[in-house]
């Protein structure tokens, strides 16, 4: 029997669109009959469960995709709750409206929840203190909570949280609990190992792909081989004869084979004879880029931002730099290929699998199957990477449709080929930059971008530092699907903008660090138009990375590149040190300074930045997605090349600007500056500008 809870107090948290949290309390006197006094546990609020045996369970409300929030979010609660972190057990919270925004995206989990989680911890702490004070009949002000115990200072009496839990759960919920002074933080800012580290290193079931249930069947799906093709007919005679195959289901535009094992499902799928009709244009990447070029030559009809008169600046310039940058489409390639478990029977649906948007999965399943949301549960396991792929809920919806059709619990497994060829790709983009240069320096900046779908936008830095600035974006319509990819928008724009600024510095014979500081000083003291960034914070990371790398004193044999970018509320500046060995670049070291305001878990924070740097180098150097007659030419890692350990930097040095402000994003901001810093280092090494990704294609 599950331990019963005598009384629950709920802390209602709802997200507001700016990323802040609204906090309110409601008292729900649901007097659940106490079952037995032994091993009871008590919800002090929705994030905190304390057992009379002193177990402390904290719920992590957002999906864990490798960004570390299953550790960092409970750390924030534990800090204010004043418990011994080593004794805390963490569970991923179920999908429930009371938890607010349960999404992994936009580097938003920590920055969106910091204050609310502190308040949740402090609320429970005050209730525990109140319970102790009442027990001892002393004023609460004479009691302090620390390390999972409440101490009555004058008498030295102590009670553990476990001993106090049942009484604490009946205490009034304080309306404005006192938060710790940040100088008293004991956990926040320290190095904390991922809560699942031991399970990971010992191979325990943790991921969606590890789901195993009684009577579960395994499914694979044949999807259209090209964008623009649709299902015409299927002959499943041979597939049904494959040993282990139980069902073949025709879906709207695909065919599912459901079997007793993954292997049987795969063999069954291979035995399908399917005819696909081309019902739309079958597109090619080469045509996309040709169209981009045409659109850039023609120019955009309107500007996203237009300060001063760029045209006039170009005309009166002594030199105009005019340069084009090109970036291919990318797949996400998270290591855990997509999968999802679904059990849809009798008007109810249980879903469990990798998603960054469990609420969206539930909503789409509800709409597609006509099952009310209250009858649908969505469980979210730890996930083998996200990178934005699972902000789309196609994998969850598809599993639900298949389970509903066969009336059995089903795990749908995607192969790597399925995953790579049915993605929502980082859109290919092209940028044209023009700069007006005079004896006085840079006098005009014209940024023009085009991409699949909406097209790139952005009026970020150097806007605000120049009298004449124009930014424009155009979108090319396409039936190739696009989606969010780590640091969307920023990952492409930063490459083009920061590479171009380096070209400007070269043309002006200015030091790229000193020149950026000069532009930022102008933006601070005499900004032009709206400033989308904080010049002081930009300066803080540039100063710090210059110090870390001893900028200006490049070691012998090393070629250096510098870049910086602002995204998701945080600032990052990087120096890439590389050596050319046998004509090949070897990244020896990357220095990175970050200003994300307060750091929660130092180890996790460094991990995010180290990972983002490797991610950025990887995608600048190696992979690309190519559409050929609507099909994705790359099918697996032999053709879609990822960086391997021998191409990884030998060292990465990450430092954070010390700050007492509330945290800003960190899962993504480390990525955008890497590609331009690498391109700028490659220029310093080879004298050649690397304006087209992937770089490896024309290094040879």
């Amino acid at each position: 029997m599950k331990p019963t809870i005598s009384r629950r107090h709920f802390l209602k948290v709802s997200g507001i669109s700016t990323g802040g949290m609204l906090l309110s309390f409601s008292f729900l006197n649901q007097a659940v009959k106490a079952d037995t006094a032994v091993d009871s546990s008590f919800d002090l609020n929705m994030f905190i469960r304390i057992g009379s045996d002193n177990t402390i369970v904290l719920l992590a409300p957002n999906p864990e995709i490798g960004q570390g929030v299953k550790t960092s979010l409970p750390v924030i609660v534990a800090e204010e709750l004043a418990v011994d972190w080593r004794k805390v057990k963490v569970e991923l919270a179920p999908l429930d409206a009371k938890f607010g925004r349960q999404t992994a995206g936009g580097s938003g989990s920590v920055r969106g929840r910091f204050t609310a989680l502190r308040t949740a911890g402090a609320t429970a702490r005050e209730m525990l203190v109140a319970a102790a004070a009442q027990t001892w009949n002393v004023p609460a002000t004479e009691c302090i909570a620390d390390n999972g115990e409440v101490l009555h200072k004058p008498s030295g009496k102590k009670l553990t949280y476990g001993e106090l839990a049942s009484k604490a759960a009946t205490m009034p919920v304080p309306s404005s609990p006192a938060l710790k002074a940040t100088k008293d933080f004991k956990l926040i800012g320290t190095r904390i190992t991922d809560v699942d580290a031991h399970k990971i290193t010992t191979g325990k079931p943790l991921y969606g792909i590890d789901t195993r249930r009684e009577g579960m069947l395994f499914a694979m799906v044949a999807r259209p081989p090209a964008y623009g093709k649709t299902l015409a007919s299927v002959d499943d005679t041979a597939a049904r004869k494959v040993s282990g195959v139980k069902h073949v289901i025709k879906l709207k535009n695909s065919v599912a084979v459901v079997a007793a094992s993954t292997w049987a499902a795969k063999k069954g799928r291979e035995a399908l004879v399917i005819r696909w009709n081309a019902t739309e244009k079958l597109e090619n990447s080469a045509e996309h880029f040709a169209a981009f070029k045409e659109m850039l030559d023609k120019g955009a009809p309107s500007a996203a931002r237009n300060d001063g008169d760029v045209q006039a600046a170009m005309q009166s310039a002594s030199k105009v730099l005019d340069v084009t940058y090109e970036l291919p489409a990318l797949s996400h390639g998270q290591m855990e290929p997509l999968n999802f478990f679904a059990d849809v029977q009798n008007g109810k649906a249980e879903l469990y699998g990798p998603t960054q948007v469990p609420g969206q999965v539930r909503n789409e399943v509800s709409k597609a199957l006509g099952i009310p949301e209250k009858n649908i549960t969505v469980g979210v396991p730890r996930q083998g990477g996200g990178f934005g792929r699972k902000l789309m809920s196609d994998n969850g919806l598809e599993a639900a449709l298949i389970s509903a059709a066969v009336q059995s619990p089903v795990q749908v497994q995607w192969t790597r080929e399925d995953d790579m060829q049915n993605d929502f790709y980082r859109p290919a983009e092209m940028y044209r930059y023009r700069a007006a240069l005079t004896e006085d320096g840079l006098t005009g900046w014209h940024q023009s971008g085009v991409g699949i779908g909406g097209g790139p936008r952005g009026d970020s830095y150097v806007a605000g530092a120049l009298a004449n600035y124009r930014s424009e974006g155009q979108g090319l319509k396409s039936n190739t699907p696009t989606g969010w990819w780590r640091a969307p928008g920023a990952n492409t724009l930063a490459f083009a903008a920061e590479s171009f600024l380096d070209e400007v510095c070269s043309a002006l014979k200015k030091d790229p660090v000193a020149y950026r500081l000069q532009l930022l000083a102008k933006a601070k003291t005499d900004p032009v138009g709206r400033l989308g960034y904080d010049p002081e914070k930009y300066k803080s990371v540039i100063d710090l990375v210059a110090k870390m790398s001893n900028w200006g004193a490049t070691p012998d044999g090393i070629h250096r590149g510098f870049a910086t970018w602002f995204s998701f509320g945080s600032y990052a500046a990087q120096v890439v040190d590389l050596k050319m060995i046998g004509g090949k670049p070897k990244v020896m070291k990357v220095y990175c300074a970050v200003n994300c305001s307060r750091v929660i878990n130092l180890s996790g924070a460094e991990n995010q930045v180290e990972g983002a740097i490797v991610d950025g180098i990887c995608h600048a150097m190696f992979p690309k997605i190519t559409f050929v007659d609507g099909a994705v030419a790359e099918s697996n890692f032999h053709a879609y090349r990822f960086l391997r350990i021998n191409d990884a930097p030998l060292a990465i040095d990450v430092k954070f600007v010390q700050s007492d402000e509330a945290p800003t994003g960190l899962g993504e901001p480390g990525l955008p500056p890497v590609a331009p810093a690498l391109a700028n280092a490659l220029f310093s090494a080879t004298g050649k500008r690397f304006r087209k990704m992937p770089f490896a294609e024309y290094l040879a």
């Binding site: 699942d196 079931p205 792909i209 292997w263 290591m335 991610d615 697996n636 890692f637």
Partner: protein, 155 residues
Amino acid sequence: MPKYTLSVNGNLLSAEADADTLLLWVLRDHLNLVGTKFGCGMAQCGACTVHVDGQAARSCVLPVSGVGTRKIVTIEGLSSTGDHPLQQAWEELDVAQCGYCQSGQIMSAAVLLKENPHPSDEDIDNAMGGNICRCGTFVRIRKAIHLAAKKNKAK
């Protein structure tokens, strides 16, 4: 369907599977040993790495019919108590981000350390080149292998 008896982590385990079923799926679907991960299905990423008679092997391309009496060790059997020096080092240095590739990384590293107790960075890069980590934990992986080598020496 033929029945195969395999030596896995010191136990003899039986599975009924088609002869061409790949060892990875027999481990995961038939024997419920899900620590060995599916990543690519063509020996390109190393997520499925196991030991076959002490050598690192990609279980995603090895048909069950070809295993015979060779001894299989998976991540679940690397150490009965989960405290192999590599597992300890991985935890101490908080290597994992998403964690999905790490069982394969550790299995590859275990063979490396057995053959070369004190590898250089270059030795590590050469031995670990078959294991992709999409999160980019390579710098910590190098450090963790050096740390495990030190732990081995201290024993």
